[in-house]
């Protein structure tokens, strides 16, 4: 079980958190419809995700804590967590 250091609450066990997927994925359509995406681009965005080995920026939500979204940089092999910050500051999705 991971130990995730929530910038708002401190170190908490993984079972307080929910996983939110790849934080480096850029939203097709601009995230607010301002950059119209083709059907192909949008389908890629929805269904084709990378499963990287190594360092990975990912969203976590502190579900049973402050309920804020976080971006954690984690090694998907060793599970080492290099940084955790508020999603308001990081992530490009």
């Amino acid at each position: 079980m991971l130990l995730i250091s929530c910038p708002f609450c401190g170190e908490r066990p993984e079972d307080e958190f929910g996983f939110g997927g790849d934080a480096s994925v850029r939203h097709q359509g601009g995230g607010d419809g301002t950059e119209p995406a083709s059907v192909e681009q949008y389908a890629d965005y929805l269904y084709l995700r990378d499963n990287p080995k190594g360092r990975h920026a990912e969203y976590w939500v502190h579900r049973y804590g402050c309920r804020r979204w976080l971006v954690a940089e984690r090694d998907t092999v060793t599970h080492e967590i290099f940084s955790v910050k508020s999603a308001s500051e990081g992530g490009t999705g």
């Binding site: 607010d32 949008y42 309920r67």
Partner: protein, 983 residues
């Protein structure tokens, strides 16, 4: 005859009281605290189990957690425990054990005919059997279930007590042998918070019989003294009988502690097992090594055991395992053991594959034959003779025990569980740690260091380093070991002497021949061979057999051990009792149960409860001798004709504030929000990014910049999370703030044609007339003196008001409303009745009709999809498939003959081909008896359903064996124009 006996005065339990126990109906005497295996051996019980597939007799082969064969069922007043390793249960007075997987008993097992039929059970038997024809599967499955297996699953609920605890420490030391004790001592003296765990009742068991001394003391006495010293430290927790079961990332460790084996005395609150969920900064892995069996024909017979186990029973329990002992040796350590066995009075023969070696066994009276090895055994219920291959050729030699020395395998499980990579050391013939693990270090035998002095030195420097890593200064004082030397070698392990009935996995009956076959059939990866042959998949997880399996596969592939490698080590290291995983939680504690503020009033009113997601909700309120259906009918008709009251507190509520809220709502809902006025609400439909219906509900505009959004009960958490994600990651520029307030409010809905009269009696500060308070309006004021938000919205299709008050005033509101409704004899109604009301109206429900693959068009809500603006999921609605006319669409269903009842869980099929495979046209999502219409109604998802109203299908429920002719109709059964709710 086994020739086993007790040696008076020997062992750690000399002087412990005798106890009586029972095995397969035979009453025996043993010693309190010894292992059941020791007691069975001492009493001459050689066959204690039968093997998984072939029902071959199984005796005791090991002495601890590595034991693969001696699995028994312990009969206990709190419920039987199957598959207990006889080597790990401590004897108590009255213990009752049974052999397993045999009929009528493990001694006379009639199903042992499987052994004769073993050519019919080759590697991959299950995969090969479960092929065509499909119709034969049930037969094979019944047959296999009868003859293959371990103990029986208990038929009654376990009444034992279990517990679990969370703990933190600086350093966990796994293993209380010489290295573990030394490391713990260094860390303890440095002031670290240390937990030392060992699976045995004693520390330093590996030091029993050790010829070396430590600081001038016999090695085991030193261990005892260190144990005593450690017990004095306040910063040290000593856990005996505790297995480190799993090591996970970031210092998370699971320990399983055995607190007692005997059944509890009446009123004794001591649990049987405790699960430790531990978070540590550093782990020192000192788990030692496990001796490997040898690979020769019939190496599974009772009486064949590892040499360390054979001598261990003498050293620990004073039990001599046999009268005539053959030691199949290949290193000096085996001669040490043989000497101790000979001194205890056994007639010992050592066959050693080397040219020469230690003379200690010879001097102790054993006969020693060099350049010789054991290659086969005979004996029906245990070994009687052993075949020796020596310089003078082959011969059979009488023996009742064959003690085998196949070298040592460091116990790398904990090291490898978090990703550590074992590598093969060809010189020493063992897998050793190959990479450094973060936050963990291996010391002693599990690191491949078998020399006692070297192991103590290694433990000392590792502990000093670990202390430094947590900023503690430790003194690097290592004790002096004298006469210490590395006696461990690979024994006679270098050659595999047998194929058939040469067992690699004793528990799962995997032979060398099985592994040969798997490789022949093209399985190369050890992970595939493992799953194909079931090698190492038993409860012992291959602690004895896995490295032998790697060797057999390497031989079959003609490759080096290093090319084959090991399978992935996964937690747990030992089987965990199911009870300790559930621990102290009673069934209703596994899942937090939420109750509304009026819970006790519902209870008092005779409600029948329903588990609805995380909530406990009234299903309906029974009066007198009503049946369930009668109660629901009464409640539904009361709402249709008069007025009813329902607790709707579980609906999710999110307060929204900020100048950009309208923009926000326009983006998250499919429909438009720009024209919403203060004091009015609007129904919204929310999609996932893939265009599938996610949630729905009414959002009220309470002020210019103040809104309250209502979500489904089950979606409250997920909707809040999703909306915050959008605001925090994509729409940081929107000036919108969310606050989840579901728990802060109690909500009740008055519904029915008389609802306005009832509300009018208690409303303060707002008008209730239709003009002053129209449909979809929202008002803030007081109800029965309580500050309230009142929303005129309807799920039942009747005139309805949802009244929200602070949660702590929920009971007060509920009581006041029932009082106000007394002239109308207003009664509460429950979730079931609400379901019938919404079904009559044809309202879809998330999770029923919108079931995770449903888009707005499918449920007839295309008009809710704005074409004038962007919203989440809009792009996906442009996917060609989303408007495919053959998608499953929402329709109403009524029985063709209105007096017939619809079957539940029905598929809708074509009347002319009801049994056609793949011929389902769709299914019934919700159905109910409509007391308003006096017949069954249902909502269904039907392929191309919108264009099929008027069609006749069959509602087919194969399990109930029911077929009912039905007509597809529009999904609005009652008041389709909605005049009742808005008038």
């Amino acid at each position: 005859m086994s020739g086993a006996r007790r040696i008076p005065g020997a062992g750690l339990l000399a002087g412990a009281p005798p106890v009586s126990f029972c095995f397969d109906g035979h009453r025996h005497t043993g010693v309190a605290g010894e292992s059941l295996a020791a007691a069975l051996i001492a009493n001459g019980e050689r066959v204690v189990a039968r093997s998984f597939k072939y029902h071959r007799p199984r005796g005791v082969m090991g002495i601890g957690n590595e034991e693969p064969g001696a699995l028994v069922t312990i009969a206990r007043p709190t419920g039987d425990e199957p598959n207990v390793r006889a080597t790990t249960v401590e004897l108590y007075d009255g213990l009752e054990a049974r052999g397993q997987n045999a009929w009528p008993s493990v001694r006379f097992d009639l199903t042992a005919v499987n052994d004769v039929l073993s050519p019919l059970f080759p590697a991959g038997f299950y995969y090969k059997t479960f092929m065509e024809p499909v119709s034969a599967w049930p037969f094979y499955e019944r047959m296999i279930r009868r003859i293959a297996g371990l103990g029986e699953v208990p038929r009654v609920a376990d009444r034992e007590i279990y517990t679990s605890t969370h703990a933190h420490a600086d350093i966990l030391v796994a293993g209380g042998g010489a290295a573990g004790l030394q490391a713990a001592l260094i860390a303890a003296r440095a002031g670290a918070r240390v937990i030392l765990a060992d699976e045995n009742p004693w520390f330093g068991l590996g030091l029993l019989g050790e010829t070396a001394t430590i600081d001038g003391l016999p090695a085991h006495d030193w261990a005892r003294e260190v144990g005593k010293e450690l017990a004095q430290f306040e910063n040290v927790t000593l856990l005996k009988r505790t297995s480190v079961a799993g090591r996970y990332e970031q210092g998370f460790v699971i320990l399983c502690q055995n607190l007692r084996d005997a059944p509890p005395a009446a009123g004794d609150p001591m649990p049987r097992w405790r699960l430790w969920k531990l978070r540590v900064k550093q782990t020192i892995i000192a788990t030692g090594a496990i001796e490997r069996p040898l690979l020769f024909a019939n190496n599974d017979r009772p009486g064949v055991m590892t040499t360390s186990a054979a001598v261990g029973y003498l050293d620990r329990y004073g039990v001599l395992v046999g009268g005539r002992i053959m030691v199949a040796a290949g290193d000096d350590a085996a001669h040490d053991a043989a000497a101790r066995l000979a001194r205890a009075g056994a007639q010992v023969t050592v066959v050693d594959s080397r040219d020469s070696g230690s003379r200690i066994a010879l001097e102790a009276g054993a006969s020693v034959e060099w350049r010789a090895r054991a290659v086969n055994t005979r004996g029906r219920a245990g070994v009687t003779t052993v075949r020796i291959e020596g310089s003078a050729g082959h011969r059979w030699v009488p023996a009742d025990i064959v003690a085998t020395s196949g070298g040592w395998s460091p116990a790398l499980h904990l090291y490898a569980q978090t990703g550590g990579k074992p590598v093969w050391d060809d010189t020493r013939q063992m897998f050793i740690p190959g990479t450094t693990e973060q936050g963990a270090v291996t010391v002693g035998a599990c690191n491949g260091t078998f020399d006692l002095g070297a192991a103590l030195g290694e433990a000392t420097s590792a502990a000093v380093k670990v202390c430094e890593a947590i900023r503690l200064t430790a003194a690097a004082r290592s004790p002096v070991a004298e006469n210490s030397h590395d006696t461990a070698g690979a024994g006679q392990w270098s050659e595999v002497r047998g194929r058939k009935r040469c067992f690699v996995d004793i528990q799962n009956d995997v032979t060398v021949a099985d592994l040969d076959l798997a490789v022949q059939e093209g399985y190369r990866s050890i992970e595939h061979v493992k799953r194909y042959t079931t090698l190492g998949m038993g409860t012992d997880q291959g602690k004895l057999g896995n490295v032998n399996g790697v060797k057999a596969i390497a031989e079959a592939r003609g490759e080096a051990m290093s090319a084959v490698g090991t399978t992935r080590f996964r937690p747990p290291y030992v089987p965990l009792p199911m009870g300790v995983v559930a621990a102290h939680l009673s069934p209703d504690q596994h899942h937090p149960m939420r109750r509304t503020a009026a819970h006790q009033l519902h209870e008092a009113a005779g409600c029948v409860w329903l588990n609805a997601g995380a909530w406990l909700r009234p299903q309906f309120y029974r009066r007198g001798g009503e049946t369930d259906l009668e109660a629901v009918n009464r409640e539904v008709l009361a709402v249709r004709r008069n007025v009813g009251l329902v607790d709707v507190s579980t609906l999710g509520k999110i307060e929204i504030a900020g100048p950009d809220t309208i923009t926000f709502l326009n983006r998250v809902y499919t429909n438009g929000w720009s024209t919403l006025k203060v004091g009015m609400g609007r129904y919204g439909l929310m999609l996932r990014e893939d265009g599938i219906v996610f949630d729905d509900g009414v959002t009220m505009r309470l002020g210019e910049q103040h809104f309250v959004m209502s979500t489904t009960s089950s979606g409250a958490g997920a909707v809040y999370e999703w909306l915050t994600m959008l605001l925090e990651t994509r729409w940081r520029d929107l000036r919108v703030t969310l606050m989840p307030v579901t728990e802060q409010w109690f909500a009740a809905a008055l519904a029915g044609p008389k609802a306005r009269e009832v509300l009018g009696r208690v409303a303060e500060g707002f008008e209730v007339s239709n003009d002053a308070f129209p449909f979809m309006g929202g008002r803030v004021g007081r109800v029965a003196g309580i500050p309230a938000r009142v929303f005129r919205i309807s799920f039942s299709g009747e005139l309805s008001y949802e009244i929200n008050v602070p949660a702590d005033r929920g009971e007060e509101l509920w009581t006041a409303l029932l009082d106000a409704g007394r002239p109308e004899e207003m009664a509460p109604y429950g979730l079931e009745s609400m379901g019938v009301l919404r079904l009559e109206k044809g309202h879809f429900v998330i999770g029923r009709e919108a079931e995770g693959r449903t888009n707005p068009y499918d449920i007839g809500l295309g008009r809710m999809v704005s074409t004038k603006k962007w919203f989440v999921g809009k792009e996906a609605l442009d996917f060609p498939e989303m408007k495919n006319p053959r998608r499953r669409q929402l329709v109403g269903v009524v029985p063709a003959n209105k007096t017939e009842r619809l079957p539940s869980s029905a598929h809708l099929v074509l009347p002319e081909a009801p049994d056609k495979v793949g011929g389902s046209q769709g299914w019934v999502a919700s159905m109910a008896w409509s007391p308003t219409l006096d017949h069954d109604i249902a909502l269904a998802l039907v392929e191309g359903g919108h264009a099929r109203t008027g069609e006749r299908l069959l509602a087919y429920a194969p399990i109930a064996g029911k077929k009912v002719a039905v007509d597809l109709v529009a999904p609005h059964f009652y008041d389709p124009d909605g005049g009742r709710q808005s008038g």
